[in-house]
Amino acid sequence: MLAESAPLRFRDPQIEMAHGAGGKASRKLVEGLFAPLLFGPARGPLGDAAQVNVDGTAVAITTDSFVVSPLRFPGGSIGELAVNGTVNDLAVSGARAEALVVTFVLEAGLSTAVLEAEVRAMAKAARVAGVRIAAGDTKVVEHGKADKMYVTTTGIGRFLPGVVLDPRSVHPGDKILLSGPIGDHGITILLARGELDLEADLRSDTRSVFPLVESLIAAAGPGIRWMRDPTRGGAATSLNELARDCALGMVLFEDRIPVRDPVRGACELLGLDPLHIANEGQFLAVVSPGHADAALSALRLAPGGHEARIIGEVREEPSGTVLVTTRYGGGRIVDMLVGDPLPRIC
């Protein structure tokens, strides 16, 4: 049966906000509508970037769109996110970003000064990341039809030698590494929106993780099974996806997960779990036990990697599940959220 004629598994009658939040609903949309119709039946597990063969050379390609409010926040702006986000998607697929193309959808009435600031931010982020912005496109829509500006970047890159990433190669005993503290970006955005009246000395962690990935590959290349940058939906979502793709259990040790104090404070106040909060400058890696120590050392010695930790390990059970354990023997399952994390009072 051809993919086009098979009935869709995605049954929701309309698209809701939850479908864009990076959690369960997003996954259902991708797997139930986009993947069968666009990617063809022979695709493997969905990763951040795809591999395309051009004249016998494997090229990595990926795309991402950036919709954030407010546009500017401590630590960055939509411009940095647009560059770093795509560079990072390529990096965690084992590729060095070579070039980006960018699309702007601008709302009529947007101040030129605001646009200029973002474009300058993108140029700077691209310089820092060592990637070329090769081309672009712009559309302007009526006032009210876009929230100031939407940015999409598409990136191509060259795969680094010596690394083959496949969730199916993950085995019990593999170690789960995290490059640094989680939750900085999402909480910064939440606070920057101003609705909750919270203040903290916190910045988005947006940055290119490629240099760290490159160090990791150099030190432990053959042992790296899988990498992911945990953006929307947080580390919990990325690890749940892996757990399902390889039908194994991801067991995390709660006291080894790095979280900055203000992120912790905000999460406790609002009833949120740092594992569900978006990050824009961190990545997860699953590494074979024989390479894990070398991998961790390499990360910690690299600039910006000093807070890297081994936060858990892969086990046979509970399969398909992320389990967080405490030192006193308690455990809790951390699922993907349905939509965005919401503050609670109960």
């Binding site: 809701e16 906000m17 369960k24 609903a25 609705e195 909750l196 009246d197 919270l198 259990g249 067991v251 040790f253 912790r264 404070g265 406790e268 106040l269 609002l270 009833g271 086990r315 059970e317 509970p318 399969s319 398909g320 599940t321 389990l323 354990t325 405490t326 030192r327 006193y328 023997g329 308690g330 455990g331 809790r332 399952i333 699922d335 349905v338 939509g339 919401l342 503050p343 609670r344 009072i345 109960c346």
Partner: protein
Amino acid sequence: MKFVDEFREPELISKTAEEIRRLAGRERHYRMMEVCGGHTHAIYRFGLKDILPENIELIHGPGCPVCVLPMGRIDDALAIAQRPDIIFAAFGDMMRVPGTQGSPLEHKARGLDVRIVYSPSDALKLARLNPGKHVMFFAIGFETTAPSTALTMMRAKTEGIRNFSVFCNHVNIIPAIRAILDSPDMRLDAFIGPGHVSTVIGCRPYEWIAQNEHKPIVVSGFEPLDMLQSIVMLLRQLREGKARVENQYKRVVPWEGNRAALKAMAEVFQVRPYFEWRGLGFISQSALRVNERYADWDAEQLFEVPGIRVTDPKAAQCGEVLKGVLKPHQCKLFGRECTPEHPVGALMVSSEGSCAAYHNYEHRKTAMVSLASIA
């Protein structure tokens, strides 16, 4: 975090769990209900069931103000909010609770002005900042939260802010506990009492549980050591054949409660003769409404309330799960028609509702993970 981390100290937790195992012995089966949804959440968040012995069964009570809210009340409030000048403000907890026409978040996606607030005072602030609009605050919560709503309304009155009102769904905990104890299919040995409600109402209101019903009740904090210590205290009472009210959460709960908070509630609210609790039916004297002095800030007085009543599908066994008679997975709809993505009953929507907690935390623990072996 001070006053948090100490009560999560792993060694002390292990030690207290050992004491529980020693006290619980092997012969007797203990059924303890934690009334408050916050305790339900804490049990799952800290994995406390993993360290309790098998013969201690924790039963989740109805203390989840989102879970017991009838769908019709959400429909009523959203109907009022259709007016173009209304800003609908509510806690995050409410945002995904489905009404018959969708949840507040879904209404927001369709263009309704819906805002998430952390505090009722933030809702009042919205009213100050938007003089051309009317902010209707959808108030939920037990006695922990009601005083804050009351104080906010008192401030609105003092400042003469007229574009602010409250759609009041505050409920009282004691009638809920009574309903549990009156239920013929209930077999409970003891109660873990709601810690934060008690900062307002104190410990006296629970005395009838000990004296008339002969069940021990320990007012408990929410950190792992708080809950475990409370279980120790309950086991000691049960072994001695005693039934008393005890206060484990002394650092925060005054025996006499908070008079200023009770005064604020009396100033603004009055008790409704009866109120419908989802899953439990109509309970008399169990909820609050805004009184006459504050009629100008009562959304139910200012606006036409359709008075929508929605009955849950017969197959949904929210009531029995709320009362602790059934475990979540024993409801026919659990995990099939009713999931966190497509909740039928509110017990599946609220993060502290027993069904959601069970589905997310317990249901998929397929194998016994040897947690003791984890370093």
